[in-house]
Subunit: 259 residues, 2 copies
Amino acid sequence: MTDPGAVPTPQPRRGEPDERASPPRLLVWGVTGIGEIGRADDVAGLIAEAIATQGDALADRDVVVVTQKIVSKAEGKMVPVDPTDPRSHREVVEAESVRVLRRRDDLTITETKHGFVCANAGVDLSNVEAGWAALLPDDSDRSARRIRDGLRARAGVDVGVIVSDTFGRAWRRGLTDVAIGCAGIAALVDLRGSVDSLGRELHATEVAIVDELAGAAELVMGKADRVPVAVVRGGPDWWFRRGNVHDELVRPPAEDLFR
Amino acid sequence: MTDPGAVPTPQPRRGEPDERASPPRLLVWGVTGIGEIGRADDVAGLIAEAIATQGDALADRDVVVVTQKIVSKAEGKMVPVDPTDPRSHREVVEAESVRVLRRRDDLTITETKHGFVCANAGVDLSNVEAGWAALLPDDSDRSARRIRDGLRARAGVDVGVIVSDTFGRAWRRGLTDVAIGCAGIAALVDLRGSVDSLGRELHATEVAIVDELAGAAELVMGKADRVPVAVVRGGPDWWFRRGNVHDELVRPPAEDLFR
């Protein structure tokens, strides 16, 4: 079989910057020293303080990724569960769900009232005191907006904020962190209308950058709640706009092939 | 409702480093100047050369993320398709698949002969010359091992290598880059047996770090094939071991709730 030969490389047509010039360099780091979070704690203030204590400072167009757990704790989304009774956890999961997709042993995959499809409706017993479970925030996009507004007020910076959680996937083992809310950053970047390097229009290239950013942040966080916040610096200007996980990224059941 | 109070924070028990000490800082950058790839091109050699031309140098325990497209081109995985006949593409997709999961309009979700579940069996018409389609490598883990061996020979470095591709997901809109092969790096990091920050054992915390790394790399790549390689520097020592996407990360149909 003959391989295609080289052909001229046209310029990108719109939207996309020309990466040949200078692709971004991202720096990703974890924020330590935030400590245990309680109800009504000022998450933005604690983040700003912890970053300052580390000797760092936030800058405009940094992306601040905050794990759901501390957001839920600050928002009082803790409910009591009886650790000796598995039904107790299951009842909480069902109250958070609008639809059960699959059940096996003690794993339930549900669609949550927020529209997410995940294990056990995101109800989490780890990193919370025995006898309690952490629910997802009521509206994680709103949570992200509040933290973004708080960081503007506290630190004078205009940043993107992502609220992240750890989800499983169909077809692939292992968990990754994804975005359940965002503010000040696009959830999806639409590269349709760009041309590929051979000059043909690209199709179906909406990239979920907030999920990729949440995953990048997880890499510096570890799972033990000691690094509940990470910062990603160096993203290009065109990432930053009004963004929203619920409207942009949550796939409505009607357009979903797997519900 | 009363919130749980603060409790002592125990040390991690095994495996996991104590992130309080110093969480990693990751630097992610794109490699430009690799140019069009043809059959039998030495991908490792071209990567090493392009990085040197950029004024950078690889270091031990860097992670080198290489997009599937250039691997497929170098391995000669190009097949002719008739761009005027949609059946032509469909026949190629079916030849690459062992099972069709869903079909809607011109989108087919299949299980490929490699075990991946993705759109159109990963057969890609973008960034290849009209009249040709790029198939997935036969064994992307082997491809990653070859590139890793080549970088050791060419640049004298011991790196992790990930071959990445762009997949859609169930339940969430948008695409993200994931790993379809890896070498010299764990596909999954098992944090089970760690304790959470309140001292209870964590369950089900196998993190797919190669998928998170592939996503992080996509953020500096863009979609137009001009930045087909990225480097992630700063990962902790415990990421690096013999790794394998096929055995660690591809979920066998029997344990999959969505097949």
